[in-house]
């Protein structure tokens, strides 16, 4: 898919995310919007996957470790063809399949249940190590939030991956500079985040997490020849794509009104 098409897809995902939050009355809109471009690039460019063969043992794996961005994952999986888009209507509905965090085995394409932070990276590392021992060359991508980097289990896995040289493992960090109640760089000593990963033995670098061209380059980049796992620090804006949501942490918990859904759609160029 071309860059322009990916950007259009990302806008459609954003609109879906906002509509789902409005219909269900659920929070985490800002966190879901900041990672849309990353997830779109992963599913349309980076991952070798066949939506019709979601259990293929040789498929690439994607784990949304920041499980509170579930609407983004659900919308992308539906648009990518893992299940019909009308399944999205089951989101946060009594008796529906789609919970507010991705559930174990809820729909095809969800590789691991998440929602408690700091779980996705160890699981992804285990997947990458399993591929090595089984002689499979699939790659594993784990999307984390910046606040999530405060969990100790992240660094346990980072140390182990660095030592085991699991080059098939890539961490994507949605560095939107906010966590639930404040600035992530102030609440904990996160900066310099890229240096932290580098000194743990990772091939770490920074990109603009909304630059689809840069994301496409990252997704096409082969594994590090030196065996290092990869950490891509994606600088992002919480609430990205909708002017009145951007970098406003009220949208960690706020639910968009019908008027705001309409305004957002207009800004996204989707009438």
């Amino acid at each position: 898919m071309k860059r322009e098409e990916l950007e259009l897809t990302a806008r459609r995902v954003r609109a879906r995310v906002i509509e789902m939050a409005h219909r269900a009355g659920t929070p985490h809109v800002g966190s879901s919007l900041s990672c849309v471009d990353i997830v779109v690039a992963a599913y349309w460019v980076g991952l070798h996957i066949d939506p019709l063969a979601p259990q293929d043992p040789d498929r690439d794996r994607f784990i949304l470790s920041k499980g509170h961005a579930a609407t983004t994952l659900y919308a992308v999986l539906a648009m990518r063809g893992f299940f019909p888009e009308d399944v999205l209507n089951e989101y946060a509905v009594n008796g529906g399949r789609l919970q507010e965090h991705p559930g174990a085995g809820c729909v095809p394409g969800v590789e691991a249940a998440t929602g408690s932070l700091g779980h996705g990276l160890p699981i992804g590392l285990g997947m990458a190590l399993a591929g090595r021992v089984q002689g499979r060359s699939y790659r594993v991508m784990v999307l984390m939030s910046d606040g999530e980097c405060e969990e100790g289990s992240v660094w346990e896995a980072a140390l182990l991956a660095g030592a085991r040289k699991t080059a098939t493992l890539t961490v994507l960090i949605d560095y939107n500079k906010w966590q639930a109640t404040g600035r992530s760089n102030e609440i904990m000593a996160l900066p310099p985040l890229v240096d932290k990963w580098r000194t743990f033995g990772w091939d770490a670098f920074e990109i603009d997490g909304h630059d689809m061209g840069a994301l496409m380059d990252v997704m096409r980049r082969p594994p590090d020849a030196g065996g290092r796992p990869r950490a891509v620090i994606c600088h992002t804006v919480k609430g990205k794509g909708v002017s009145f949501m951007e970098d406003d942490n009220n949208w960690h918990y706020r639910v968009p009104t019908a008027e705001e859904v309409g305004a957002a759609r207009r800004e996204l160029g989707l009438q």
């Binding site: 699981i123 399993a130 289990s153």
Partner: protein, 309 residues
């Protein structure tokens, strides 16, 4: 027990290429043969148990059958949420092995005691909790755990425990093993206390009391068929464990009893009290301190038998 575990693990790894051993930086020489033969299926995950348990879950999601091995407190509570979410919620075939459980490391202090591991892991859906009673039950338990689809916790002692069985027993998860028949009292023992239960039965026999002794190796799922039988056939059922009285075998049986009252038999429970063990001393001393020794338990059973008539 740990030597039997390492030996049996080496044997099963030869038969099943999905077996993968993860160690939390212990078992330095214990797994030498395993590592020699199956080095590509061994990983020292360092002193990082939460990460290790998540890694095991990821491996199981990709078709391996990981076995996570470290000292009991660290393979259970240290990575408790990973067990709940990564392993049990996904219902993954991960075998979690806790070595040195109960009072095996009494001398090391409460950081290394586990009086709560069985209770803690029993809480999670899908989890089976198995406490082998001797080295041969360890071998059988490991094979049974690998046959099961879903997570299993295997609770081990340390080394040189008395042997109870003459040969590797048939062990089905969730089915107790009757070791000795007797009609006066039924003793349900789980884990490393099993030899002590038999010694207790010997003392009772000397007093003219015939005890059935059951290796209740599985605390979850409980052998409810056995419970239904013994609570009707006997006047007194006794539970024994080197684990806290809250939430272990005795706790589990008490829950069953509350849901299935009235029964003919009363329940008498032996286990550890709700306290930390502050004294220096080895396992034998700690067991004596808590009365988990044959003469004290035999006296307690005789007293209770007199009460129930």
């Amino acid at each position: 027990m740990r030597n039997a575990f390492a030996s049996e693990l080496t044997a099963v790894a030869a038969e099943d290429s999905r077996v993968f051993l993860l160690s939390g930086d212990i078992g330095n020489r214990l797994f030498n043969e395993y590592k020699q033969r199956f080095g590509e299926r061994f990983m020292n995950c360092g002193v990082a148990e939460a990460g290790m348990m998540g890694v095991a879950a990821g491996m199981a999601l990709c078709g391996l059958h990981p076995i996570v091995y470290t000292i009991a407190p660290f393979t259970t509570l240290r990575c408790y949420e990973q067990i709940k979410l990564d392993v049990c919620y996904h219902n993954l075939s991960v075998v979690i092995v806790g070595v040195g459980a109960g009072l095996a490391y009494a001398s090391l202090g409460p950081t290394h005691h586990t009086f709560e591991d069985v209770a803690a892991l029993r809480l999670f859906p899908n989890m089976a909790v198995v406490c082998p009673g001797d080295a041969l039950e360890v071998r059988a338990a490991l094979r049974a755990a690998l046959r099961r689809s879903g997570p299993v916790y295997i609770r081990l002692g340390k080394k040189n425990e008395p042997r109870v069985h003459q040969a590797v027993p048939e062990l089905t998860i969730g089915r107790g093993i009757i070791l000795r028949e007797g009609t006066d009292v039924c003793i349900l023992a789980t884990g490393v206390i099993l030899p002590t239960a038999l010694a207790t039965a010997d003392l009772l026999a000397g007093k003219g009391v015939a005890a059935r002794v059951v290796s209740m190796h599985t605390v979850k799922p409980l052998d409810t068929t056995m419970l239904e039988d013994v609570f009707q056939s006997y006047k007194l059922v006794v539970s024994m464990e080197e684990h806290g009285l809250i939430g272990g075998l005795g706790g589990g049986v008490a829950e069953w009893l509350a849901d299935h009252a009235p029964q003919r038999a009363l329940l008498l429970r032996f286990g550890l009290p709700d306290e930390f063990f502050h004294l220096a001393g080895d396992q034998e001393y700690a067991r004596l301190h808590y009365g988990l020794v044959p003469d004290v338990m035999a006296a307690g059973i005789l007293k209770k038998l007199r009460e129930v008539g």
